[in-house]
Symmetry: C2
Subunit: 279 residues, 2 copies
């Protein structure tokens, strides 16, 4: 498996590193970032938090703006942040910021032209963790988190694969994409007009019928301009009440959709995950 390091910056005694590798799942080169906390310097293995970013983001935004490394270093957790879609000149794209490159929605596309590369669900669930575990000093323990489109991805991956994740959290997730403009546009393109296939990628539908239960924490800013139309956190609250799902959802007065919101509460999320991981 090819793997090339493109940058390494020391921080809080550990290292933020960026890599590029050939993804067999996505059939293109993919970038990802990893923060390795100082505990790994002498070979200690640490659990991994996967972070899924939102629309238009890359492997860089979280590492530069979320201020997560301090607590990851203190708690002894590695963080892996993949890019948000396949990329490249031969990868299908769209003029909109909310479809195509930068907007993979963490699904396995079934429709042309998207189905050739857009398999972010499989990539994040299988290929990337396998590569991380083969390459870095990490244990098999994983949790997952994300923002907006990535919050949707984190919830869907954890709800569908409760045996693979110890905990899940999200900032400002798209709670019910089958009923939100972002989700409807993306799912129509990637999954087709037949909406029966969409529910496998809808966190509130999955949470309503969840069997296994990965503990979930969600933070949502009340001044988020996408709150009412796109995010709909009340759909997650209703679903968790229906199924008794262990969800804690905090609404934060005055906070918006930006990384300033994420930075303000990332410590809470990392401490939440640390409770469920062996650190």
């Amino acid at each position: 498996m090819s793997l090339e390091i493109t940058s390494a910056n020391k921080g809080f005694g550990g290292w933020t590193k960026h890599y590029i590798h050939q993804s067999s799942t996505l059939s293109c080169d993919m970038r990802f970032a990893i923060y390795l906390p100082p505990q790994t310097a002498n070979g200690q293995k640490v659990p991994v938090l996967y972070w899924l970013s939102g629309l238009t983001c890359t492997d860089e935004n979280f590492m530069q703006k979320a201020a997560a490394q301090r607590m990851a270093a203190e708690l002894g957790i590695a963080i892996v942040a993949p890019d948000t879609s396949p990329r490249g000149a031969d990868v299908a794209d769209d003029e909109g910021y909310d479809l195509g490159q930068g907007a993979g929605f963490y699904v396995n596309a079934t429709q042309a032209p998207w189905n050739r590369h857009y398999r972010m669900y499989d990539y994040v669930l299988n290929e990337l963790p396998d590569l991380i575990q083969e390459t870095f000093p990490v244990t098999a323990e994983r949790s997952i988190s994300g923002h907006s489109m990535g919050g949707h991805g984190a919830l869907v991956l954890a709800l569908r694969n409760p045996e693979r994740f110890r905990s899940v959290s999200a900032f400002s997730p798209i709670g019910n994409p089958v009923n939100a403009p972002w989700g409807q546009k993306a799912f129509t393109a990637y999954l087709g007009k037949d909406q029966s296939s969409w529910s496998d990628y809808d966190a509130s539908i999955l949470m309503r019928k969840a069997q296994g239960a990965v503990p979930a924490l969600v933070d949502q800013g009340e001044a988020d301009k996408f709150l009412v139309e796109q995010l709909q956190p009340e759909t997650l609250e209703t679903a968790s009440k229906t199924s008794g799902y262990p969800l804690t959802l905090n609404r934060r007065e005055g906070y918006d959709h930006s990384y300033y919101f994420i930075a303000s509460f990332i410590e809470d999320h990392l401490r939440f995950h640390a409770k469920h991981l062996s650190t």
Copy 2:
């Protein structure tokens, strides 16, 4: 005095805000950022830390990448981050990243064409603090910090105006610009070939003959690619020994010139400033 807000994001209970105003000192529109900690919400006045960024930066880098808001909120300190030079279509510029727009070096230029707009020393010392104090709930107490070119600027401003600042700190400052390529290029353009005027903008020369003494903290990464040729922290150490200047200079193994380094030690710097400010 015109003043227009361009963005506001809540963070750690306070607000990161960006403004644009017409600067009479620089004869152009200028942007700056301010973080107002939560203590100011009910009218409490807080002291201000001025942050001067490095080459190519704007008013955005520090607020997005330094992870400073958490400690500023805890300690009750406002942070003001100006842009790094005058800007605009009619403002003189250069093709190099290290001269002209984005590279004001915090001097008052005396040479054409630079002397029309490039007066960052006066702007940071006088016009900007006056505006901040008139506009926001802050006290007259100030400290100053910065990175690289901005670390040079912070040290020079504090060394020349000890009555105006309670403390000064710097990450990776240009310690002796009259003997470094960045400084020589900028000072030749802005101040002219006669080097007698340069020493007023050289931190190690000023520290060697300092009378008043603003307590100083410097952090320098040992893996910084600019360390030997451009930054020369040993010139500050020698100067402080000569004059007995209260300088603490930490060399940090493995750290580079990036914001990952700044984020790792910004808490130390904010706690240092808080000791010297009434918080």
